[in-house]
């Protein structure tokens, strides 16, 4: 018997993560101090670079869009009791899906081509996740192992295709030709300009709206729908699922398909929203950040949006910081990100227990 962790909802969802992040920043500050820089100046640059300017904010929100998609992808699988490490590979394949659709249906108008491209991304991401899902469900191959292997497969597959098949004959670069212009998802600054509002230029595009819609969809799916109920039963108590007549194998495959489709959103934002061509390593490891985002957001869409914002700030602010204070390299920024992941994910239970302890002591004192 262990002490029950009775926490008010607000403490569970706001207070504990806030303490984790604060602790992480304090430790990160010590690291900055150790290399002889002033942590306060560093923090100022970090915030200034990510939130202080309109342009910086745009980039922050652009990264946030990526992280929301991959965070949701990890979360959906997580609710079914699956650890999908394969967001990276699923997003890569989604990029392939986008390129195949957009460069083969160049004759379609934008209002058809854009949704079709998004569907292509979702379908290819889903397909790449469905295979490990199937192997887990029917063969018992562990999803962590298979999704990691599928990341490597995706990465070598895309190199092969871009070098040997999809590359433009005259080009030296391993990338496809540019997508047709009507398939570009509009930049936010262009959208605002259409309404007569000037905002600074950045990579931020309308995919952010899609990401927020996806977050709402995931909330509705997981917490309100019959399918989500079945997913959570399988994730939380597989033998109860069998008792209830829910097939765990079927649910595992469905959850992985949804997860892979969501990971495809990363490719939509990066390729249809910004790069406008398929190129190598456009996922930049963000698929893995999704794991941290989902952990920190406690697999809840609202938490994921907030965690994505935090990581957006870190990525954008970190880039500015590395630029302004050369002693703090990009690698240092990665270290800081790692510390946050450590505190928010692995050490989360520690703070939770501490807070729960304080709360029960207070309750007893009042009683």
């Amino acid at each position: 018997m262990s002490a029950p962790l009775d926490l008010p909802r607000w403490a569970d969802t706001v207070l504990v993560p806030a303490i984790s992040v604060t602790a992480a920043f304090l430790v990160a500050g010590l690291v900055v101090l150790a290399i002889g820089e002033n942590p306060l100046t560093a923090t100022r640059w970090l915030l200034q670079g990510s939130l202080g300017t309109g342009e910086g904010l745009g980039f922050t929100l652009f990264y946030m869009t990526d992280f929301i998609f991959v965070g949701l992808a990890v979360a959906v699988a997580f609710h079914a009791g699956l650890f999908n490490i394969g967001g990276e590979g699923q997003a890569t394949l989604a990029g392939l899906g986008i390129a195949l659709v957009l460069n083969n249906f160049t004759f379609l108008p934008g209002f058809l081509l854009i949704p079709l491209g998004i569907l292509g991304a979702a379908a290819f991401g889903a397909m790449w996740a469905a295979i490990p899902g199937y192997l887990q469900a029917k063969r018992g191959s562990h999803i962590v192992i298979t999704t990691i292997m599928f990341n490597w497969l995706a990465s070598v597959l895309i190199v092969y295709l871009l070098v040997n098949v999809l590359r433009e004959p005259q080009s030296m670069n391993p990338e496809t030709r540019a997508f047709p212009e009507q398939s570009y998802i509009p930049f936010m600054h262009d959208v605002f300009a259409a309404f007569g509002v000037e905002i600074p230029n950045s990579q931020l595009n309308l995919t952010l709206v899609l990401a927020l819609a996806a977050a709402y969809f995931v909330w509705l799916l997981i917490y309100r729908s019959r399918l989500g109920f079945a997913i959570r039963v399988v994730g939380s108590n597989p033998s109860a699922a069998v008792y209830a007549g829910i097939s765990p194998a079927r649910i595992i495959i469905i959850a992985m398909v949804l997860s892979g489709a969501l990971a495809g959103g990363l490719a939509v934002n990066e390729l249809m929203g910004y790069q406008h061509r398929l190129l190598l390593e456009f996922t930049s490891g963000y698929g893995f950040v999704g794991i941290a985002v989902a952990l920190m957001g406690r697999a809840h869409p609202v938490g994921i949006i907030l965690a994505s914002l935090l990581f957006g700030i870190l990525y954008q602010g970190g880039a500015e910081l590395a630029f302004e204070q050369p002693a703090i390299t990009r690698d240092m920024v990665v270290v800081i990100g790692g510390i946050i992941i450590l505190f928010a994910g692995a050490l989360d239970g520690l703070f939770r227990r501490l807070v729960a302890h304080l709360f029960t002591r207070q309750k007893l004192a009042r009683a």
Binding site: M1, S2, A3, P4, D6, L220, R224, S225, R226, L227, F229, A230, R232, V233, S236, N237, S239, A240, V242, Y243, A244, G245, A356, T360, K363, L364, A367
Partner: protein, 507 residues
């Protein structure tokens, strides 16, 4: 002579739960002392403090009159206290000698220690009649003998005071009798025994004195000879309870569930149910008596469609169930509902709010929502109503399922199944871990269902429960149905023999 054990003003809290409140207990040397109480009354916490798993927040422990600090099981063993857990702490692939030696090897090399263990075991066998094949592999021994190994382990470590936690939960009646014989001979040799149980019959049969706990407090300690089961039950619950539900004679109707030559093999290829055939009629409760692990669970799960039988057929209301349509979903649609044996593993989802656990197995029902979306307000309102009908406490549909007591969890599961008007109801261990007050309620509900014409198949390891509720009783042993008796024409001894696999002369 100072008492063997004295606990003075023990307090222990887990978070907001005050598990032991100013508990005092005095156990005289050379006696068998029973401790009874409902689940969550604080018996296990108290014994865990005595055995050093927990430290008390305040209070004093005295052994043989001397105050001592018990911070770990090692300290307890040093003080001469031994414990036999409900779930055995044995290494199955090792032999009896090796198990006894474990943790008391006496040096880096085993030979010397082993010789000592053999000598000591021989002496214990002689003194207490604790005979056992010391070279047998523990995994091959019967449950009763495994328990004997646990007792030997404690005695080998010099235990003068033996704590037994629900020792008969896993035993057949004859094995339980053998255990009681052993406990008596331990007592005669001057050992002190503390027996934790919720079976009042056992308390009456074997203890000298009995202490009753309720909600963390020690409410009474009485001489066993001067008390009675109803009095103890009342002390445990805090109000008068019916130990036996009234049941009128009733002629059963048409056969609703017919099982023929059913055989079930588990995923490891072990035959768990062999050629089971029986019928359950409308308005009849058929009880399956047996020691846990003799195929009853697998039989229920196979009928419910959770496992595919390898052989045999099942008919519901005369209609054969084809193996393709034999899944839990379809069986529910046909009116066969199931209260599973293991609430926490199957009956509900501990992490879910109660109103979600209350639709487990029925989340597809159209009236629970619109299209693919569930209507939470409606689920909450539905459960609030059921909670009132079934007296679930607290009546809070949003509360996490795991936070209800066992009895209230069971009521939530029962309400879910019963309110859907079953034709056939499978019930597994309906009162395991359920307090006496709730048992009374659950039993009367099951009788009411039977009177309303439902065919009920009841599996329980509590023989009392089987005998109280059933119209007919089947006994199971080693996956086979070993006998069938009318409940009114049999007794515990006869059922005990059948449960132990003695060939049924009457069949």
């Amino acid at each position: 002579m100072s008492p063997a054990i004295e606990l003075i003003a023990i307090n222990k809290s887990f978070g907001a739960v005050h598990a032991n409140k100013d508990v005092n207990l005095s156990v005289a040397r050379g006696t068998i002392h029973g401790i009874v109480g409902e689940n969550g009354a604080g018996k296990s916490t108290l014994m865990s403090i005595l055995y050093g798993f927990y430290e008390a927040d305040s209070g004093e422990v005295r052994v043989n009159g001397k105050p001592i600090a018990i911070r770990s099981p090692d300290d307890a063993i040093q003080a001469g206290i031994g414990m036999v857990h409900q779930h055995f702490m044995l290494v199955e692939p090792l032999s009896v000698v090796e198990n006894v030696m474990l943790g008391a090897e006496g040096g880096a090399m085993l030979r010397a220690g082993e010789a000592k263990v053999r000598a000591e075991l021989a002496r214990l066998a002689q003194d207490y009649g604790l005979e056992i094949d010391v070279d047998a592999t523990v995994g091959d021994l019967s449950v009763g003998l495994q328990q004997r190994v646990e007792i030997l382990k404690a005695l080998y470590r010099g235990a003068d005071i033996l704590i037994l936690d629900e020792p008969t939960a896993v035993l057949t009646p004859p094995e339980a009798d053998a255990l009681f014989g052993l406990l008596r001979s331990l007592k005669e040799q001057g050992k002190t025994v503390i027996l934790i149980t919720h079976k009042l019959r056992e308390i009456m049969a074997i203890t000298d004195r009995v202490s009753v706990m309720r909600r963390g407090e020690m409410v009474a300690t009485v001489e066993t000879a001067e008390t009675s089961p109803p009095e103890l039950a009342e002390l445990m619950v805090g109000r008068r309870v019916l130990l036996r539900v009234e049941k009128a004679e009733k002629t059963p109707g048409a056969p609703l569930l017919e099982v023929e030559n059913l055989s079930v093999v588990d995923p490891r290829g072990v035959l768990r149910v062999a050629n089971a055939s029986f019928t359950v009629r409308a308005g009849e409760i058929v009880g399956i008596a047996g020691v846990a692990g003799n195929g009853q669970s697998e039989l229920l799960e196979a009928i419910a469609g959770m496992r595919q039988p390898v052989l045999g057929s099942i008919r519901l209301e005369g209609q054969a169930i084809r193996s393709r349509g034999h899944n839990p979903h379809r069986m529910r649609q046909l009116g066969l509902l199931h209260v599973p044996e293991d609430r926490l593993r199957m009956g509900l989802v501990p992490a879910f709010p109660a109103f979600e656990s209350a639709i487990l197995g029925f989340s597809h029902e159209p009236h629970l929502g619109r299209g693919p979306i569930l209507d939470h307000d409606r689920l909450i309102a539905d459960l609030a109503q059921k909670m009132e009908q079934y007296d679930v406490r607290p009546p809070a549909p949003r509360l996490t399922s795991s936070k209800f007591s066992g009895g209230n969890q069971q009521k939530i599961v029962l309400a879910r199944e019963i309110e859907r008007n079953p034709k056939v109801l499978l019930v597994g261990q309906p009162t395991r871990g359920v307090d006496i007050g709730a048992i009374e309620f659950i039993h009367s509900r099951l009788i009411a269902l039977r009177d309303a014409g439902v065919a009920i198949l009841l599996v329980s390891v509590e023989l009392d429960e089987i005998m109280n509720l059933s119209d007919r009783i089947l006994t199971m042993c080693g996956g086979k149905i070993t006998g069938e008796r009318k409940a009114s024409q049999t007794n515990e001894q006869e059922l005990g023999l059948l449960m132990a696999g003695v060939v049924d002369e009457a069949a």
